[in-house]
Symmetry: C2
Subunit: 290 residues, 2 copies
């Protein structure tokens, strides 16, 4: 009698290409919620692969080609420069699979595969969460809980693909919003890319002047910690994000420098009334973040 | 027989002038550690007084004149502009009491009472801790634990006064370091005043452009929260700090803007190698803060 081989259905298999902080956290949450029966990992960093297997984030590590042929749902969670490079050939190889990305920039990736014969199998997304940590060792299942996942150009994707992505994000505890890539990229420039840039610049300012003195270590307190938290974020992830979104980042950076100059002018004149006005205006950020 | 009135000894009474976040947190910790038997509060804000009494941060609220005559140890914990105004007349009135301040700027306060007949009863200090919260309701006994307290110009204070201040801070769980006012003010410009300024400017940049859209609320994530945490800090406290330390703040702000311009130039040229270099340099901040 022949042995009845009963593999996991393709629709129950997810492949995550790039098992870093984001891919790893998605895997952890998918595991906890039991959204898929089998999780495949792909990563060109052998340490990531080893950690992801050891943490049981993934069931197996395979090549990208094997992942595409085995899985019904493919998540591209690499740095955004690799996404631009990988996505066209990945879409060349898909048939009926759903493919989504998790990139922090959306215009270039959408433009890159616009008109591709399998464009409709792709859903452009951005689960809006990050950390100054990186790699699968920092992956946390709870990371995405109550956060927003953006879907861009949903109209260019097959309805079943959009639906599958929405179901996935909702099962992960996220709220899905639709937005066009242009709006997404300018908004994330303000609320994510600019904050990273100014934190990096603060770190460099302080390191440049104070590294030979012990005064930072002794005086650095909670305020400095929070202001430099994002400065710990890795260049592998953030260089391509800033570069891909550079027109928007340059635009908001110029606006930011204008705001700094307003403070500079008031300080130079010793105008306390105007300094207070600028600070009280800034205090309204309490209404936005808690 | 005459009733033997047995008041608390003067040396066991501390008066805290300014029962806000800092004064209130000191009071809370002094209470927990039993450093003084009786805590007097002085504040010109009736809400602060009511909250401080209700939270039992202080045993009584009195006038500044009564506080000076009753207490053996006087802490000036008002905003730094009020300190400049209050300290000379406060020192006029002291006899053998110990007086210390808690201000985030040290040069102006030290200069202000240099040569005062009771200069030696004063110890210039800065317990290095803060929060974006303010007022006594935000006071926490654990705030100062394991933080640094700076003492400036210890040589201009009577040894018994310096010793009493050191004992107080050590009982509060702090590590005392000595520093001259010039070094203190430039170092705090880097690690505290500049971070506040850039957080205010970030908040204003985002509020200016995005307040008519709901996109911040939906997309703002952990990174934005930490980058704008300091922007919630009150103008009553921060306007006078920035103004008193304005030469140093302007100096470090210019250096900071130069660091931003380095990023701007690399971005404009799309020079990923140089962006990576700047980010990797900033990542060394990990060695400073954890």
């Amino acid at each position: 009698m022949e042995y009845a081989f009963n593999p996991v259905e393709k629709q129950k298999i997810i492949a995550i290409i790039g098992i870093g902080l984001i891919g790893g956290s998605l895997a952890a949450k998918i595991r906890v919620r039991g959204v898929f029966d089998h999780i495949i990992g792909v990563d060109n960093d052998p340490v990531h692969c080893e950690v992801a297997l050891k943490m049981q984030l993934v069931d197996e590590i395979v090549t990208i080609q094997d992942a595409i042929s085995k899985a019904g749902f493919i998540v591209l969670a690499t740095p955004v420069d690799s996404m631009l490079h990988l996505l066209p050939s990945l879409l060349d190889a898909v048939t009926d699979q759903v493919v989504m990305d998790t990139g922090s920039t959306k215009q270039q990736i959408c433009d890159k595969i616009n008109g591709h014969v399998h464009r409709a199998r792709f859903v452009a997304t951005h689960p809006v969460w990050g950390s100054d940590m990186h790699g699968p060792a920092a992956a946390r299942a709870e990371s995405f809980e109550n956060k927003v996942a953006v879907i861009c150009e949903a109209g260019k994707s097959d309805p079943d693909a959009v639906s599958a992505v929405k179901v996935l994000y909702e099962k992960l505890g996220m709220r899905v919003v639709e937005m066009n890539p242009k709006d997404h990229d300018i908004h994330t420039a303000y609320i994510s890319h600019l904050p990273h840039l100014i934190s990096y610049a603060l770190a460099n300012t302080v390191l440049e002047k104070e590294r030979k003195e012990d005064s930072i270590r002794s005086l650095a307190s909670g305020g400095f910690d929070s202001a430099t938290r994002l400065a710990k974020s890795s260049s592998n992830v953030w260089t391509p994000i800033l570069n891909q979104n550079r027109d928007n980042v340059l635009f908001v950076l110029d606006e930011y420098m204008d705001e700094l100059k307003k403070f500079r002018n008031c300080l130079e004149r010793g105008n306390c009334g105007d300094i207070s006005y600028l600070i009280e205006h800034a205090n309204f950020i309490k209404e936005v973040v808690h």
